[in-house]
Amino acid sequence: MKALGLLAALLLAPGDGDETTAITQVRIIPVGRDEIASGTIVLRGGKIVELGADVKPPAGAALIDGKGRVAFPGLVHLFTRIGTAGTSGGGGGNSPQNLAAEEINPSLDVFERLTRAGVTVCGIFPAGGVLAGQGVTIKPLGGTREEMILDRSAFLMVHMQASTSAKDGLKQAFEAAKKAIESEKKPAVATGKPAEGAPKPATPAKPDEKTESLVKFLKGEMPALVAVSSAAEILHFWQVLEGFAEFGKVRVVLVAGPEAWKAAAELGSRKARVALNPTLTFVPQTRIRVNGAAEIARSGARLALVPDGDSPWALEGYLFQVGELVKHGLGREEALKAITLTPAEFLGLDKRVGSLEAGKDADLLLLDGDPLSAQTRIRRVFIGGKVVHSED
């Protein structure tokens, strides 16, 4: 019912662009810069126009009284399968051409679950084998696919395994991409006379469907999200990449399991991008608590957090879980970044979302307290300047 009501509200909303909204007297936690104890945020045309302590609401703007409220960027959930039609993807085997975008079912009544929990951007990964396909980034608006999708080919998805078949499969796929890149570089017309018996210079072969995304990855144009359930798998993936060290721009995001902290020293020295569930774990064979997220952040690696599942409970308990990590030693600033700006950066969306900044998308939350407090409720959620969830 609520979803229907929202949809109606969206349809009835006046033409984009002109409507100006100002949230006044609100405490602003912009992420990545200093907090503002009380200020104004001006939204127009789906963007944040300006924000600050001294900003005055423009004449004619619709005013929202932000007194007692906290403005915080919408959460970025970089690794989920929510909203996809089922679990079947490309089956086993390597199928980097598969698009998670094709799996999205906009009529599923789950996107509201995300917005209710404050998630305004997510990365949806494709199901499948080791090279599962390409992930898609969306804003969980419901409606049509086109309205939701930000990037149909947002990232390459790798489900890493410590096995010869997985490693050889990856090497072969990267090797094919490397060849494609080399043939691109070679001029189409040979300069000298062709060597005896040499095949005639072919027109630079366009990489096939399967290789295209891998080419983008090697060139640094598309990141790879690599799911690594154990610390060992991290090393095995790096070992595969070592053979392609000449491609220095590759961007890898390790979506790691609970024992990734064991590799913290290595992760830190490589300044790795790591995404973790916000859970505490144990030193093996003991009851000694480990805060893996804090260990990894301390090592110098870049940390993003990912909700611990797609259930309503996991999503709505997310901020509280993040608070627990802070209680157990993760820096507060680090934690707030790890749920907004850093995952946005991992998905290549940090120019658009992830913090409250003039020029960025008006994706924000109005909370009635500190974001990490157990007592805080999310009162309103804006995506592109529009209210997609409201408890006021």
């Binding site: 410590a162 096995s163 010869t164 078949s165 154990s230 060992a232 095995h236 024992e259 064991k262």
Partner: protein, 423 residues
């Protein structure tokens, strides 16, 4: 490696000082010295109050009056024993992330907790296998799966694999039927022919006598590699019958072979010695003599000592070749030196007992050029013990693999609280 060779070549052409100035980009070597311990080199006796100097991943110098380079990290081990890390000739469930098929080195888990426990018990290298069915009592010899000798390089995949494959199972020669034995013999005959043709090809190539466009001959199957000495055969041969049967094949084709799980080896030491087969002894593997038989049978605690007298090379392995935390001391790999100590009870001298869990174990694994003794140029895989290596009260204090300190008892959640009150 190539770089090092290039530097050496440069050094031959130019004065050495210039050569040093030419390589500023290289990282300066890290020197670590273990000073003042009794160094059991295994290959050259015990050096009392000596120093072992490590340079990066290798043993650089060993001696009693060493000049240490500037900046050497010095660790005082006065009153302690320094030994090469122990080598497990067989280990189950160790260092593997998954049992998936394929190569062992692609499925290693350097973060596995057992790897850490192995280090705490002084083991730095182990023979492991994957994917095959087990041998005697579900363990022991590889069959069809893959195998490798790996280091307990906790946290590092690089430098973890020493050798893969390290062995080839000929178990069906002993446990199979006539058809299996026929097949194995045929494989050896074929391989012998192939190896000869390969040698002939290489000889003619060296003499530039190849026919135009002649295809090279490669003898690369396991049987050919056995004949060339690149692989060692593993055969589980507990009783005298099985041992004799295995030796028959060894004598016919002259390949390197290790007899695993050997119980009655003490009844025919000379036959084993003449075939130059290796043996793996489990000292406390008890088996009663069969009174219906005229010949000697069953186990003997003196087996290791008897084999030693006959010049047979052997390694010692515990009853359960696994790293567990639930076993009785010495029954599994967590107490490997204790199993060796029981061989001393059976009359073996102490040095030979230590050799059986270090250098000979490394030789059986095919990695003795790299590990198993404290010698200049070998890998810096070392243990520092707080007492006699064969004393049941002794703890491992420090363990180094590839020059890296990977275990310190004083920081271990398993052993730090145990203060050794028995002394």
């Amino acid at each position: 490696m190539k770089l090092a060779i290039a530097v050496v070549l440069l050094g031959l052409q130019e004065p050495p000082k210039k050569e040093e100035a030419k390589a500023p980009a290289a990282k300066p070597p890290v020197y670590t010295a273990l000073v003042g311990g009794d160094v059991h080199t295994i290959s050259r006796g015990v050096l009392r109050g000596a120093t072992v100097l490590l340079k990066d991943q290798k043993i650089h110098r060993v001696g009693q009056a060493l000049d240490l380079p500037e900046g050497t990290i010095t660790i005082d081990v006065t009153g302690k024993r320094v030994l090469p890390g122990f080598v497990a000739v067989q280990a189950q469930g160790l260092a593997l992330a998954s049992g998936a098929g394929g190569k062992v080195s692609d499925s290693l888990d350097p973060f596995q907790e057992q790897v850490k426990i192995a280090l705490a018990c002084g083991i730095t290298s182990a023979f492991i296998e994957m994917g095959g069915s087990g041998g005697f009592f579900g363990g022991g010899t590889p069959s069809a799966g893959s195998n490798a000798v790996v280091k307990m390089s906790y946290g590092a995949l690089e430098g973890m694999t020493l050798l893969e494959p390290a062995a080839h199972s000929l178990q069906t020669w002993v446990s199979g039927g006539a058809a299996d034995r026929h097949e194995i013999r045929q494989s050896f005959v074929k391989a012998r022919d192939l190896v000869e043709r390969e040698r002939d090809f290489e000889r003619r190539r060296a003499e530039n006598k190849l026919k135009p466009n002649e295809q090279p001959v490669r003898a690369a199957d396991p049987f050919a590699r056995l004949l060339k000495g690149e692989l060692i055969a593993r055969i589980s041969a507990p009783d005298a019958d099985a041992i004799r049967r295995a030796l028959e094949l060894v004598n016919e084709f002259r390949f390197r072979c290790v007899l695993m799980d050997v119980v009655e080896g003490w009844t025919l030491p000379d036959e084993i010695g003449r075939a130059r087969a290796y043996v793996v002894v489990t000292v406390r593997n008890k088996q009663h003599a069969d009174r219906r038989m005229a010949r000697p049978s069953g186990s003997s605690i003196e087996q290791a000592a008897i084999l030693r007298k006959a010049g047979v090379k052997f390694a010692i392995s515990p009853i359960t070749p696994a790293v567990t935390t639930g076993g009785i001391a010495g029954r599994d790999l967590t107490g490997l030196p204790i199993e060796a100590a029981f061989a001393v009870r059976g009359g073996l001298d102490e040095a030979a007992a230590l050799e059986a869990i270090t250098l000979t174990a490394a030789e059986i694994c095919g990695v003795d050029a790299r590990v198993g003794s404290i010698e200049e140029g070998k890998d810096a895989d070392l243990v520092v013990l707080d007492g006699d290596p064969l004393d049941y009260r002794t703890f491992v204090d420090l363990t180094f693999v590839n020059g890296k300190l990977l275990y310190e008892k004083s920081k271990s959640s398993y052993f730090n609280h145990l203060k050794g009150k028995g002394r």
